[in-house]
Every structure is written in structure tokens, then in C-alpha cells.
């Protein structure tokens, strides 16, 4: 075992388990998609700060999405989904901190040139039966990270903040981490041969700054902070939304008991995860690795015995 291997079952303290004795608290992202306006400021800020190459000036032709999904050159990706569904009083007028379900007056100011919320004048009936879902996706910085587990060079490592980062001077481009990631995050850059993904702005964290995307997000849809605190905040937020009638609000990736031991970047979603391109119940592949080794060991023994047996008996 190297120092980077997480304990099986998902350590409560991944940085400590990876051999950082005195480490800062684990940090993460809480992406509250209910206030995302799809402005893509996060995508742009990420590209600027991390000097990521252009990822093709495409238009997906399905929606306002033009980056399609996470990849080597897209570390934040804003998904757009248009649905023929009643709004379900899905508006941003619920105060985030403590104001509770009656927070009609404490609307979040989006800084938009408008004096009333869209649809207010028309009344509930006139608002139309459709809604936009927007969500900024990112590397989950899994507690049990498949990419890190399978990396044969140790290029992927667990930082003192509990995040997962690639060391570009060590990666040999084997690409094993790419199919290992259950979320389709990490990816190989064709012209350069190495893999790239979100570092949660490791360089900024060291300087006491928050990641560029969280800094740029105008609605605080992307919230950065200590993971424990974010989980509490998210639990309050989802309760508020549900009490306010947004039944579809649910958290995704916040549970330390899930298939990746809890994501370091988790989400508040308004529909099933697969609608946003997220796997509904991902499980880190290395949980089954001990069983895989056992089966492979048996198969190797069967092969040795079977081939040895072909030499037995009378010579024919």
C-alpha cells in the first residue's frame, strides 16, 4: 500500500488516511442548482484561471449547452434542460439562510434589469408549464476515488484538503483513470497525452483563496467551504425548498454512506441525476477489486492445473 490509498469503506478523513497528519479541514463544493441561471461564469473563470485550452467552439444544438460534458478541457460544465413541467413554485425567492419557507420578501437579488420576477404579473396560471434546469457540473473529489485508486504511477494523489489532483509531471498517459471514473470527469487531452481535471484550484487554496468558479458565480449557486459546514447548509436548504413546495428538490452526493463514500463536491438537484447526465447510484469500482483478484487467482490456478493435466497419462 502506498500512502495514497484510501482505507476501504471510505475514510471519514481522507486526507488523514492518505498520510497528511496535520491537515486543514476537508473542503468542497455545494452546487445549489436551484439558483443557477446558466450564465457559465464558472466555466469561463475556470478556463481563465487554469489556462485551459479552448474545447471547440461548438454549439450542441440541443440546448444552450455548448461544452457538452466534462472533459480534459472542460472542468466546469453547465447543463441546460428544458422541461414541459409546471414550475412547482420553483423560484429563487426562498431565502437561503434561516428565513424559512415564508421567505417571499427575501428574494435573492440576481442583479437583473427587472422589477418583478418573471411570471409574477401573470399569476400562477399564466406562468406556463415549463421550466429550465441548469446545473454546473464538476469533479466530485470522491472520498473513495476510483481514478486515484487505479492510477499506476501515483500521478493522482489526495491533497491535504481532501481533494483529488493530478500531478502532470508524473502522469504517463496510460488513461486508466478515464474509464475508472464513474462520473465521466477525468479525460485525456489528445495533443498532450496526459489527463486533466478539476483541481479545486489547488493553487488558490494554498493562498487562502476560494476556487475561481465559486468566486465568479453571481448567484452563489456554487458554494465553496468546509465540507461539514456545506453539508449542514445543504440540508437546511433542501428542507426550505421542500417546505416552499419545490417537491423535486433533493441532494446528490452528500451522503458519506453512498457508493463513493460521499462526494467532496455535491449538488442540490431538481430532478433525477441522470437527467443532468449524472449517474443515479455510482459505486467506486475498486470496492469489487478484492473479489476480482480472488476470481482471477482461481482462474490462474485453473489454467495452471488444466494445462498441467494435458501432460498427464499415457503418451498418445
Amino acid at each position: 500500500m502506498t500512502a495514497n490509498d484510501p482505507a476501504p469503506g471510505g475514510p471519514a478523513d481522507p486526507a488523514g488516511a492518505a498520510g497528511h497528519p496535520d491537515h486543514p479541514p476537508r473542503v468542497g463544493f455545494f452546487t445549489d442548482t436551484s439558483v443557477c441561471i446558466g450564465c457559465k461564469a464558472c466555466e469561463v473563470a475556470c478556463k481563465e484561471w487554469n489556462a485551459i485550452p479552448e474545447d471547440g467552439l461548438n454549439f450542441a444544438a440541443t440546448s444552450y449547452d455548448n461544452s457538452g460534458g466534462l472533459g480534459a478541457d472542460t472542468w466546469r460544465h453547465v447543463a441546460f434542460i428544458e422541461q414541459r413541467r409546471p414550475l412547482g413554485r420553483q423560484h429563487t425567492g426562498v431565502a437561503r439562510d434561516g428565513a424559512g419557507p415564508a421567505g417571499e420578501a427575501a428574494a435573492v437579488d440576481l442583479g437583473m434589469p427587472s422589477f418583478e420576477r418573471p411570471g409574477d404579473g401573470a399569476g400562477a396560471d399564466g406562468r406556463g408549464e415549463f421550466r429550465w434546469l441548469m446545473s454546473s457540473d464538476v469533479c466530485k473529489h470522491c472520498t473513495e476515488a476510483a481514478c486515484l485508486d487505479v492510477c499506476p504511477t501515483g500521478a493522482l494523489f489526495r491533497t491535504e484538503y481532501g481533494t483529488v489532483v493530478v500531478q502532470e509531471d508524473i502522469c504517463n498517459g496510460c488513461g486508466y483513470c478515464v474509464p475508472a471514473c464513474p462520473y465521466g470527469v477525468i479525460d485525456k487531452r489528445e495533443d498532450d497525452g496526459r489527463v486533466w481535471k478539476c483541481t479545486m484550484c489547488y493553487d488558490r487554496l494554498g493562498a487562502g483563496q476560494q476556487p475561481a468558479c465559486a468566486q465568479a458565480c453571481p448567484t452563489d449557486s456554487i458554494q465553496f467551504g468546509e465540507l461539514d459546514e456545506l453539508r449542514e447548509r445543504a440540508a437546511r436548504r433542501v428542507t426550505d425548498l421542500q417546505l416552499a413546495g419545490v417537491d423535486s428538490a433533493r441532494l446528490y452526493g452528500e451522503d458519506p454512506g453512498d457508493g463513493v463514500g460521499g462526494a467532496g463536491a455535491f449538488f442540490l438537484l431538481l430532478d433525477d441525476p441522470e437527467v443532468y447526465g449524472l449517474p443515479p447510484d455510482p459505486v467506486v469500482t475498486t470496492r469489487d477489486l478484492p473479489a476480482m483478484w480472488r476470481h482471477a487467482g482461481t482462474a490462474a490456478a485453473v489454467l495452471l492445473a488444466g494445462l498441467a493435466a494435458t501432460f498427464l497419462g499415457r503418451r498418445r
Binding site: 502506498t2 495514497n4 490509498d5 450542441a60 440546448s63 460534458g69 466534462l70 434542460i81 422541461q83 414541459r84 476510483a146 487505479v150 492510477c151 499506476p152 504511477t153 508524473i170 502522469c171 504517463n172 498517459g173 496510460c174 474509464p179 475508472a180 471514473c181 464513474p182 465521466g184 470527469v185 477525468i186 479525460d187 485525456k188 497525452g193 496526459r194 433525477d272 441522470e274 437527467v275 447526465g277 449517474p279 443515479p280 447510484d281 455510482p282 475498486t286 469489487d288 477489486l289 473479489a291 476480482m292 476470481h295 482471477a296 482461481t298 482462474a299 490462474a300 490456478a301 485453473v302 489454467l303 495452471l304 488444466g306 494445462l307 498441467a308 493435466a309 494435458t310 501432460f311 498418445r316
Partner: protein, 338 residues
């Protein structure tokens, strides 16, 4: 601009009443719905896009690596058996095959790296959580043994250490043939991961069949008895394990039927069955043995390429990621209510 004309017969060229319902615009009837709702096939997705990222491996390199690794490992076992049971021609062929195959497989692996110059970084760490790391160390141990076994055989010098190397390679060989199963199964790729129980048996069976095939091609009928029996053993093991894997998992069954994987795997089945049957029944005739041997080698290669492409297909279709996971969520919810 209006496209209709008002004529005496009425309005002409009018478009049908517009009904621009959200989510109703689909380019093809089988295309996923824009709003992610699940009318066909019973699952939802983000515009039908895959959940997983594209697997950055070239078929020639990685499927080739799987094939050559299996061939090398099994050849070493046959080589040792042949040497110890006094079948010099078979031993010679199998040792040369093992060395050639393992050299080819390492070349394929290095070729597939995005930064081949950094191949040695594989040996920076030893991580049991990474089958590729374990495999690199395995190859570092097995490669020199297979090399020494072949070199001493072909030069006729250092016979004693040569035999020791031959036996050593035979003991590590099965591990080399089997470890490539965890290598591809330890991923989120549905058609690989879901088959992790049977995959090692498919691979070792396929490796045994390939080595038997080379043995039939490269040894006289007087010595090819073990190769004939190994052909039957390998083909039976591979076929049984494949059948079980398909029975157990929809992702495997579907992707093994359709597309490029389906064609390759059907060819593999036909070739392997023909080769094994030919070896068993007509293997004492020189030409029949050679034809059967060639069929077995080709069948094994088709199996590896087929399984490789099945994995690619299962990663490209969000169905195989979403449906089983959604099912798990439903089962948990049902269990929670009960």
C-alpha cells in the same frame, strides 16, 4: 414571412398548426427526448449523451495486449510441461512464442501511453488497488524469465538455469494471463465491470486456446497431444464462462450481440469451436492440426477484440450506466418502505 397563399380554393401551403411543445422536438423517433423523460427504453438521460467519458484506448494496442498476454502466459505453461515431459519441439515453439508475445504486449502497452517516455513511472509505486500497477510488476518479473527460457533454448547454452527459468515462467504465466481481467473489469465500464466474476475464466480459457493453437501450428503430431487437449480445455472454459457472463448481465448480453463486438464474438465462437473440434478429432494429421491451430489463434484474438469493443459500446450508451443504477435505487427505496 408567410409561406401560405390565399387562393380561391382556400389557403394553400399553410404549415400545420404549430405545436411547439417543450420536449416534443426530436430529430429521430428513436432519439432521446430533449427533456430527459423516459418514454422508450425506460430510462432518462442528458440528451442521450454517455455518462462516462470516452475510453482513450486504441483497440489494436489494448485488445492486442489482452490477447498477447494470454498467449504468452499459457505458452509458458505448455513450454514447461513439454520440456519436463520430453517434447523438445513443442517446448521450443512455446518458449519462442511466450517471448515474442510478451515483447509484443509490452510494446503495445507502451505504444498506447500518451507519454511513452514515461513508461518507467509505472514502477514508481506498487499499488494493489491498481491492476495496471500490479500487472507492471508482474511483467517485470515474468518478462525476464520468459526471455531467459527462450534464449537458453534457442542458443542451447546454460541448460540448467534455462529449465529453472522455464518453470518460473510457467508459474507466473497463469497470473499474467489472468490479471488482464481485473485490469479491464476494475473500471466503470458496464460490460467489463459487471462481468468481473467470469472475465478471468474467459481470458485464461482464451489464452489456453491460443497457446494450444500455436502449439498445433508449430509441433509435429508426435508431440502435439498436450496442445490438442489444451485446445479442448481452453475452448470449453472460455465458452462456458462467456455463456454464464451473458446470462447474468444485460449490459454484457446486449453489447455482445450487436455492432462490431457482435460480429467479432460470433466469429470467435465459430473459430474456437471449429479449432477445438478439429484439434480433438483430426489433430494427429499434420495439416488438420495446422488449420485447427490457426483457427484457435484467430478465435482467441477475435474474443479479445470483441470484448474490448463490447466495453466501448456499453460506455457509449447511457442505458447501461443508468438502468442498473436506477434499479438499485428503486430496490433500496422498496426495501426501505417495507
Amino acid at each position: 414571412m408567410s409561406t401560405s397563399d390565399v387562393t380561391r380554393q382556400g389557403v394553400r401551403g399553410a404549415r400545420p398548426a404549430r405545436d411547439a411543445l417543450t420536449g416534443s422536438a426530436r430529430a429521430r423517433p428513436d432519439a432521446p427526448r430533449r427533456d430527459g423523460r423516459a418514454p422508450e427504453g425506460g430510462f432518462r438521460s442528458y440528451y442521450g449523451r454517455p455518462v462516462l467519458n470516452r475510453i482513450p484506448w486504441a483497440a489494436r494496442d489494448i485488445a492486442g495486449y489482452l490477447f498477447l498476454g494470454g498467449l504468452a502466459g499459457s505458452s509458458s505453461v505448455l513450454a514447461a510441461g513439454a520440456e519436463l515431459s520430453g517434447r523438445p519441439a513443442l517446448a521450443r515453439t512455446m518458449k519462442a512464442t511466450a517471448l515474442g508475445a510478451i515483447t509484443g504486449s509490452v510494446a503495445a502497452l507502451v505504444n498506447d501511453l500518451g507519454r511513452p517516455a514515461r513508461f518507467v513511472n509505472m514502477l514508481r509505486v506498487c499499488k494493489p488497488t491498481s491492476p495496471m500497477s500490479v500487472g507492471s510488476w508482474l511483467l517485470a518479473g515474468y518478462g525476464p524469465l520468459a526471455g531467459a527460457a527462450a534464449a537458453t533454448e534457442l542458443t542451447g547454452r546454460f541448460r540448467r538455469p534455462g529449465t529453472a527459468a522455464t518453470v518460473g515462467a510457467a508459474l507466473l504465466g497463469p497470473a499474467v494471463a489472468a490479471y488482464t481481467a481485473p485490469l479491464i473489469c476494475d473500471t466503470a465500464v458496464p460490460a467489463w465491470h459487471e462481468g468481473y466474476r467470469e472475465m478471468p475464466f474467459v481470458f485464461t480459457g482464451s489464452g489456453a486456446a491460443a497457446a494450444a493453437g500455436v502449439g498445433l501450428l508449430g509441433s509435429p503430431p508426435a508431440e502435439n497431444g498436450p496442445a490438442r487437449r489444451a485446445a479442448v480445455f481452453g475452448a470449453a472454459l472460455e465458452t462456458a464462462a462467456l455463456a454464464r457472463m451473458r446470462r447474468r448481465t444485460a449490459a454484457v448480453a446486449d453489447t455482445h450481440r450487436g455492432g462490431r463486438a457482435g460480429v467479432l464474438l460470433r466469429a470467435a465462437e465459430a473459430l474456437t469451436a471449429t479449432g477445438a473440434l478439429g484439434a480433438a478429432v483430426l489433430g494427429r494429421h499434420r495439416w488438420a492440426a495446422r488449420v485447427s491451430g490457426a483457427a484457435l489463434v484467430a478465435g482467441s484474438a477475435c474474443t479479445r477484440f470483441g470484448i474490448f469493443y463490447a466495453g466501448i459500446a456499453s460506455a457509449e450508451d447511457p442505458r447501461y450506466t443508468v438502468v442498473p443504477q436506477r434499479e438499485r435505487v428503486r430496490e433500496r427505496a422498496a426495501a426501505g418502505l417495507a
